[in-house]
Point group: none
Chain length 413, copies 2
């Protein structure tokens, strides 16, 4: 069954609101094995709603509309769909009573224009709206299914989950399930990853394997269609194994988790305490880690030694290092990391120093140059990086690289 | 000029990511008076991209694609568009050099498959991508304009603002300008603000005045249509004056700037140095401030005193305060702020201590309880807050409240 989703509302076309409904419906349809091939958003305009509906009727078996079921003049979805299909609209007494009861429940009189929400195309199945006045509508013409749902997500979503998805499940001839796993990588570029697994990307049809570039991150989506979730997992597992054999060291999550969640959990589970000294990231690494509930069990403190004075005063950095090597140097990063570890008495000490830009770069020390050190009881590991992007991107990449250093260390424990 | 936006990417159809680009582009086109009539999302599939492009060519004057310009096999937008228009793809040496330089800048070899990003349809104008490797492309066939932009929003958005919008402005025949001003508020709820300016919200048609709820923030958008930017400004100004008279103390930006940008600029302009001691926000306040270029002139250091031990060791907090008042108390916040100020020798010292949750709350000290102190040479100001929301929301609201304390203080200088 191939489907598409049509969102009706001029506010979407003006960019005033996010299209939340389309994403929610897409996820739910994927889960039960219905392909979603198109999303369309169209304004509150009869002619354009009509034109997009006619196109959809030609290419899709299932068409889900959201929005345009309200009581006002510019709510046109139901009227336009009925007109295109040549269906009459009739008052449904039950629905009218329900709308009147809804207003009574709020101690208000039903406005006259809400009456039109009780109009139903002939032959329709209606879906009760527990959080508003517009009922949902299901129409079946030949092999096509057309479903109209209201626009407010808090009305739409319960109707989708309680009625539409079970209805569609029953209608599906097969019991196909679509299951996705998302692997997240760090320390490898998208192109390099692709070269390593080009044969898999090319050969695979079920499951499909597709790269998904996110800001400064690389992810792979593995999607299988099968008769059951168990069967889908059995298709996905061997592919993941093969990918793991080739590039496993760069994978930090098999469940689409952010890096700080993975590292935070590893620290807590392994009971390794940590302290952080940051310069160019300005507190961003500590911020990411302290987003994780329960991190206070292992995170002792952070120091943001932005000025040189503060590096000397709090982090005990020798003045000679500052003078001879500079604030952005391997020696500085090592000095910061080992001192914050000693000062705090933690198992791990992490330090980041670099040039986030846009100013402050020099030929030998350009914007994006970053040194990261992980200090442990078995020694200090320092890595040098050269990141591209603007100030915020460099801060983000530096913090992720530091998290990855911690992750690699914790894996060996 | 009627336009539509086509987003390419299977991840959209599976509901895996939000369609951020479409919303951003829609807003920008509206601002310069271009109607957006359709949004379409389509997967990484040559046949379906082709079909939707042909439909778009029939109904729209301007078609903007995002996504599908990457180096991988399932990036098909450019190839499909060129095929439908019957245009050849040729290597552009300049772009190839730029991509190679991009990789060199990161000390990496350019992978072979990135080469295809230097393929350009004949007759195209290219747009430089400062944050990635895929150039943007503008094609003009007859009266139609087709624009291809990359999918990652951090690459797409600068190209849109710096090149596409100015290009389209020049091409527009009419001189209608739609101008928006966005006022940002802090310290006032949306309903309360609405009550104060209800008459303005109701009466206005040009300019329109509309509240725009953002996460934890309140903003007002004032939009005017006029023949010129000057005329639009003259419509907007008196409305802003009226709003300012009623609720001016809560407005921190008349130009849709984030609070940290406003406060960072005030600190730099007034040359007031600052140091920060954070507990529950875990470095987020320092992170926000250090996003501002040039902040190193005034930001000396930050301390994230997460453990009680670290509060005593670095911030010199008396043990009695910890024992008698607890880590989350007015006394603690004042002690932290005044000590970080003394320790750093800065003009201002700021401290935040609170309970970000989800655990750690108690009847008298619930999750969301936060104390913020601003220490200056004229004394210490401490405010108590009770924020709602999850851990990240409480961190964010606390940091914004601290920034607002700083802002209010700097305004008096």
């Amino acid at each position: 069954m191939n489907s598409e989703i049509i969102s009706v509302g001029t506010e979407l076309l003006l960019g005033q609101i996010n299209n939340i409904n389309t994403r929610i419906i897409s996820q739910k349809l994927s889960e039960i094995g219905i392909n979603v091939f198109f999303h369309t958003s169209v304004g509150d305009n009869r002619e354009r709603i009509s034109s997009i509906f006619k196109i959809a009727l030609e290419r899709s078996d299932l068409i889900i509309f959201t929005g345009g079921l309200g009581p006002t003049l510019d709510d046109l979805t139901k009227e336009t769909v009925a007109e295109v299909l040549g269906l009459e609209l009739n008052y449904d007494e039950n629905i009218l009573n329900r709308i009147q009861a809804f207003f009574k429940g709020m101690h208000r009189e039903m406005p006259e224009n809400n009456k039109k929400q009780a109009l139903v195309p002939e032959g329709a199945i209606t879906i009760q709206n527990e959080n508003g006045t517009a009922p949902g509508i299901i129409l079946q013409t030949g092999e096509k299914i057309i479903i109209l749902l209201p626009g407010p997500p808090n009305e739409m979503e319960p109707m989708l989950n309680k009625f539409v998805i079970p209805f569609l499940r029953k209608r599906l001839n097969n019991n196909e399930v679509i299951k996705s796993k998302i692997l997240r990588f760090i320390g490898i570029g998208e192109s390099f990853l692709e070269q390593k697994i080009l044969d898999i990307l090319r050969k695979q049809t079920n499951p499909t394997v597709a790269p998904l570039a996110k800001q400064g991150e690389v992810t792979l989506r593995i999607t299988a269609k099968a008769k059951s979730e168990k069967d889908a997992n059995e298709l996905i597992e061997p592919i993941i194994q093969t990918i793991k054999e080739r590039v496993g060291e760069y994978i930090y999550s098999y469940d689409n988790e952010p890096l700080e969640v993975v590292v935070g959990r590893m620290l807590i589970e392994r009971r390794r305490t940590i302290s952080i000294a940051e310069s160019c990231t300005g507190g961003y690494l500590s911020h990411l880690l302290t987003n994780i509930p329960g991190i206070s069990a292992v995170f002792d403190r952070g120091i943001i030694s932005y000025s040189n004075k503060s590096k000397i005063e709090i982090l005990n950095v020798p003045v000679e290092i500052l003078k001879q090597k500079g604030a952005v140097s391997q020696e500085m990063a090592i000095s910061m990391a080992s001192w914050i570890r000693k000062l705090s008495g933690t198992d791990l000490g992490v330090a980041i120093t670099g040039i986030a830009g846009p100013d402050g770069g020099a030929p030998l020390k350009p914007v994006g140059l970053v040194f990261i050190t992980l200090s442990t009881d078995s020694g200090d590991l320092c890595e040098e990086y050269l990141f591209s992007g603007n100030r915020e991107a460099i801060k983000r990449r530096s913090a992720l690289a530091a998290l990855d250093l911690i992750r690699r260390h914790l894996k060996t424990i």
